[in-house]
């Protein structure tokens, strides 16, 4: 039996007595690694110096990776469903690690295109496949608490940056004794960047393989102890039927959810992308900010914590209050928070931090709750593939959010001279975006019966779909 076929879905069925609590850490071991993509700013200046390139040329590396994430999740979703989580996680680990190693080659030979190919294209494919690979398996293991299960895994994606940022700084200092991460203008040598990328590539591969080793799918007739599948039927908007990924994208509810995710991510990413200069600008008087560069870095770290905590806390809460109501909170309360941020956010630093932190917790919560919302509407059959297609909203928001914020700010003045008032047009635009998402969420309805698959055993349907 070849290595890949031994990782097939059919060879991954859990034996009786297998603990489902092994699945969340297996999923986390993938998401904690691929979450590194949010920590690329740590070595951005070193890249600029090493390649003698501009901000845009280096920023493109991240953009390619995010676009590839959306594309590979959308295109590869059905493949992931068919082949199972272990093979998908292995493929993800291989692409992700190969991305780092090819990039290391590009850094050592000063060929930027190799970094685009490595981290951007190969790494981006690893990101997309890795992001969706454990989601449907978690939902099947936790039919009683899908929000908690997917929240745990997707929390890891937020947590990945918390780990990668300090680890990257420390590794760069280790490989280049002249590098001081506490000095904003300090840059690491090319050799240190190569060392960093090789170390991260190998370490991430090992950690992700730990997840591959522990991941299992439940047997078709497996149920959690004491859980009655009939209890699902009584909840509104929750179906026990199944919809294929091909049919899901023909439904109105899919595209309404696409708008919901797009709006929620666009609003959050606007703050996330601009966090460090934003807090300095909000507390600038007579051209001088009372918030130092180091303190602004601390604010970015706090936002990451809120982002991560929101993924787990809000997604778990959605198991209790329902998916539609929790998105009404994300989007509706988000509107109020954005209005407060725009109008009184500059009164005190703690107030600004709390408002931005809760907004970012809603941003994270929106990501983590969407798989469970999809499960409610479309069933578990191809929820991973449907999730993959929905993530194109993330790619689109990744372009739209920064465009809105930067477009308005460019019109207000030069960086380093802006004040809180300069942010008001952008923040009020985000309020409009959130209202649009709120309305889209209100319009979500159960999927019509004619989209449902015939009620036959899941195995037969999978074979038919393959």
């Amino acid at each position: 039996m070849s290595l890949l076929s031994s990782l097939d879905r059919s060879h991954s069925v859990a034996p009786p007595g297998f603990s489902r609590w092994l699945i969340p850490p297996a999923a986390l071991s993938v998401h904690l690694c691929i979450g590194q993509v949010y920590a690329t700013s740590v070595y951005k200046n070193s890249f600029i110096a090493h390649f003698d390139a501009g901000q845009t040329s280096i920023g493109i590396i991240f953009s390619i990776a995010i676009v590839m994430l959306g594309l590979s999740a959308a295109i590869g979703g059905t493949w992931v469903e068919r082949n199972g989580p272990r093979k998908a996680m292995f493929v993800s680990a291989s692409f992700w690690a190969a991305g780092f190693l090819v990039s290391a080659l590009g850094i050592s030979t000063e060929q930027l295109w190799l970094v685009y190919l490595g981290y951007g294209v190969l790494g981006g494919i690893g990101l997309g496949i890795g992001y969706i690979s454990p989601v449907s398996t978690l939902i099947k293991w936790f039919p009683d608490r899908p929000g908690l299960a997917t929240g745990l895994a997707i929390m890891g994606f937020g947590g990945g940056a918390l780990i990668a940022s300090p680890a990257s700084r420390q590794l760069l200092s280790f490989y280049d004794s002249g590098y001081d991460s506490s000095i904003a203008t300090s840059v690491a040598s090319g050799g240190a960047l190569v060392g960093l990328f090789v170390t991260l590539g190998i370490a991430y591969f090992i950690i992700m393989m730990f997840g591959v080793a522990n991941m299992r799918v439940p047997a078709d007739d497996w149920r959690p102890d004491g859980w009655d599948p009939a209890s699902v039927k009584v909840k509104p908007l929750v179906t026990t039927a199944n919809v294929t990924a091909a049919n899901a994208i023909r439904t109105r509810s899919f595209w309404l959810l696409w708008i919901v995710l797009f709006c929620n991510v666009t609003a959050g990413i606007g703050i996330l992308e601009q966090a460090s200069p934003m807090i300095q600008d909000f507390f600038r008087t007579n051209g001088v900010s009372s918030v130092s560069v180091a303190a602004a870095g601390g604010f970015v770290g706090l936002l990451s914590l809120f982002n991560m905590a929101g993924r787990f806390a809000w997604s778990s809460t959605s198991d209790v209050i329902g998916r539609k109501p929790i998105y009404m909170v994300y989007l509706g309360v988000g509107v109020i928070l954005y209005l407060l941020l725009a109008t009184i956010g500059d009164l005190a630093t703690p107030l600004f931090v709390i408002l931005a932190g809760v907004i970012l917790s809603f941003y994270g919560g929106g990501f983590a709750t969407i798989p469970a919302y999809l499960r409610d509407l479309f069933g578990t059959f191809q929820v991973g593939a449907i999730h993959g297609r929905l993530l194109t909203a993330w790619s689109a928001a990744g372009v739209a959010g920064p465009l809105i914020i930067n477009g308005f700010l460019d019109a207000q003045g030069k960086p380093g001279t802006l004040t809180a008032a300069a942010y008001q047009p952008a923040l009020f635009t985000m309020v409009g975006v959130l209202i649009l998402g709120f309305i889209a969420n209100l319009l979500v309805r159960p999927v019509p019966d004619h989209y449902h698959e015939p009620a036959s055993p899941p195995l037969e349907r999978k074979e038919a779909a393959a």
Partner: protein, 32 residues
């Protein structure tokens, strides 16, 4: 099975714990 459970969650706890502590150290500068 229980040893596997402990090792799995320990790995996650160590990784996340490291990240959270390092982030809190950086974040403390905001209110220093």
């Amino acid at each position: 099975m229980s040893a596997r459970l402990v090792v799995s969650w320990l790995l996650v706890a160590v990784l996340l714990g490291y990240g959270i502590i390092q982030t809190l150290i950086t974040a403390a500068k905001l209110f220093a």
